[in-house]
């Protein structure tokens, strides 16, 4: 699924570097210039044909959430890859060298955001979200987005950071284009209107992602919430970290962390079997309904 370098980096064999800093302090940490874009396109896009595919103007990929992809049978295809609007600007700037288009990454760090989400939501709330997600999947709702059910947690904390990056990029170049999800555009405009006059550090804007402490949390609860959230957001954690037996979060505040460190991955599989069961049932139901429509029930 991933490049060899990611595997080696996770396992600790290779002293790998990222093209941009994963914990940005300034705008210059996130900008892709011509050289870095060349590295990205010729290195990762071409080097990992399982994930990426290049067309003349588009990039095809299979990263991101499942709910973004509209077809139900997407993962059962032999080469499951779809058009990706967020990765195409890299290819466009790679093809048009004379225009000198730099690309800039404007979302918050994913791991920090997940930690914030898990710490600020209770287990019951997350289970409610999972139910509504499952119902929407079962009904075949194409435009369902998890973030719209709780915009005060999923969308609004990110806006300050994104608006700040757009504002700082105004000082670098006069003509900018921002490619964002369509649900976010309105919120971004509202945040833009309320911007203060002074430039902020990026770390100051990320302070919003520190959740308020509501007493101690047990580590098993923390892990279970991570599993539920991961099931709804495309199994990003599982495919990138848990599969390679690494735990990316720092949970020394939680209760019982030191006792459970050695059996994290066993417990992860246990919780995944419990909560992922809903998804399986739904897929089976979908299969039965389709069979009933086609008239294949009596034959077997």
């Amino acid at each position: 699924m991933h490049s060899l370098e990611w595997k080696e980096f996770i396992e600790g064999n290779l002293d790998a570097k990222f093209l941009i800093s994963t914990n940005p302090g300034y705008l210059s940490d996130i900008i892709f210039d011509d050289r870095k874009i060349k590295f990205l396109v010729e290195g990762t896009f071409v080097g990992t044909p399982e994930v990426f595919d290049l067309g003349p103007t588009f990039v095809f990929s299979r990263t991101g959430k499942i709910s973004d992809i509209m077809d139900k049978d997407f993962e059962s295809r032999p080469n499951p890859r779809a058009v990706d609007a967020f990765f195409t600007p890299f290819l466009l700037s790679y093809n048009n060298v004379s225009k000198n288009m730099n690309v800039n990454v404007c979302d918050v760090p994913e791991l920090r955001f997940r930690d914030f989400l898990v710490r600020s939501m209770s287990k019951a709330e997350l289970l409610k979200l999972l139910k509504s997600y499952i119902e929407a999947r079962a009904e075949g709702d194409e435009y369902f987005d998890l973030a719209l059910l709780k915009p005060e947690l999923f969308i609004k904390p990110r806006m300050k950071y994104m608006a700040e990056i757009l504002r700082q990029s105004c000082y670098v170049s006069k003509k900018n284009i921002a490619v964002v999800d369509r649900y976010i555009a309105d919120e971004l405009e509202a945040e833009w209107m309320n911007l203060g006059p002074n430039i902020l550090k990026l770390e100051e804007t990320l302070q919003v992602l520190k959740a308020e402490k509501k007493g101690t949390i047990s580590f098993s609860d923390y892990l279970e919430k991570q599993v539920i959230l991961d099931l709804m957001r495309g199994e990003y954690l599982y495919s990138n970290y848990i599969k390679f037996k690494t735990w990316p979060f720092n949970c020394t505040d939680t209760l019982g962390y030191h006792a459970m460190v050695q059996s994290i991955f066993v417990v992860w599989d246990h919780f995944k079997a419990i909560h992922g069961d809903f998804l399986k049932k739904i897929r089976e139901k979908e299969g039965e309904e389709e069979d009933a429509k086609k008239g294949n029930v009596g034959l077997l």
């Binding site: 991101g64 779809a82 466009l92 288009m101 105004c170 555009a185």
Partner: protein, 225 residues
């Protein structure tokens, strides 16, 4: 503010190409509408010479509308237009191209520019064209930061929608934007630096991979004293 206007005109150009292409290749009856629109441009250029206009219309009728007689009437409708910001900008932009065209055309050697009073309001048609060409659920917003006099054009996109993606690609290639910000998180595993980056830098290493495999490439781990 000029930046916002220029961006809007680029969208307009993309929109025009889309709508024309759709009309041209859909049905035969729509071809007539397409040529009618083409005639409007000629009317603007040669408003003072009714003779050249009549010649042009005859040529087009003989070429494309031999079967239908009604089309000649539809083509010959003159329209009055008032000057707007859009038309002004168009004439300013395309001035150099128009000059070259006029020189090449035999019947358009010495013309004056059309009078402003004869033009009709063109704003509504332009708006309709833009709205028709933008795909469904596509959001465009223009944010301005006055201290540096710079603008951000926010494109609200569905990530997996191919129509949105193609429209976005057209818009980016048409514009002169020097910075594009994309909604991706910086700790995404795709942004790791791969070994291929190091390998492809050397010509010798490239050759050793392909034809000249006998050349050995060894990495220097330590600095020599």
């Amino acid at each position: 503010m000029n930046i916002a206007k220029s961006a809007a005109f680029r969208i307009l150009r993309v929109a025009n190409t889309y709508s024309h292409a759709q009309r041209a290749f859909s049905t035969k009856s729509n071809l007539e509408e397409y040529f009618n629109e083409m005639f409007k441009k000629y009317e603007q250029d040669h408003a003072n010479d009714p003779e050249t206009l009549a010649k042009l219309k005859k040529e087009f009728q003989e070429k494309y509308f031999k079967d239908s007689k009604d089309s000649a009437q539809s083509v010959a409708k003159p329209k009055q237009e008032k000057p707007t910001e859009n038309t002004k900008a168009r004439t300013q932009r395309g001035s150099s191209k128009e000059k070259t065209q006029r020189k090449s055309d035999s019947f358009a050697s010495s013309q004056e520019k059309p009078k402003q009073a004869e033009q009709t309001p063109r704003k509504d048609t332009v708006k309709e064209k833009i709205v028709q060409s933008i795909p469904k659920n596509f959001v465009i917003k223009n944010l301005i930061w006055p201290p540096t006099n710079s603008a951000v054009l926010v494109l609200g996109v569905e990530r997996r929608n191919p129509l949105h993606c193609s429209f976005m690609a057209d818009l980016i290639t048409e514009s002169d934007a020097s910075m594009i910000s994309v909604q991706l998180s910086p700790d995404d595993p795709t942004f790791i630096r791969t070994k291929g980056n190091y390998r492809k830098g050397n010509l010798i290493s490239f050759l050793s991979q392909t034809h000249y495999a006998f050349i050995r490439v060894e990495r220097v781990h330590r600095r020599q004293p």
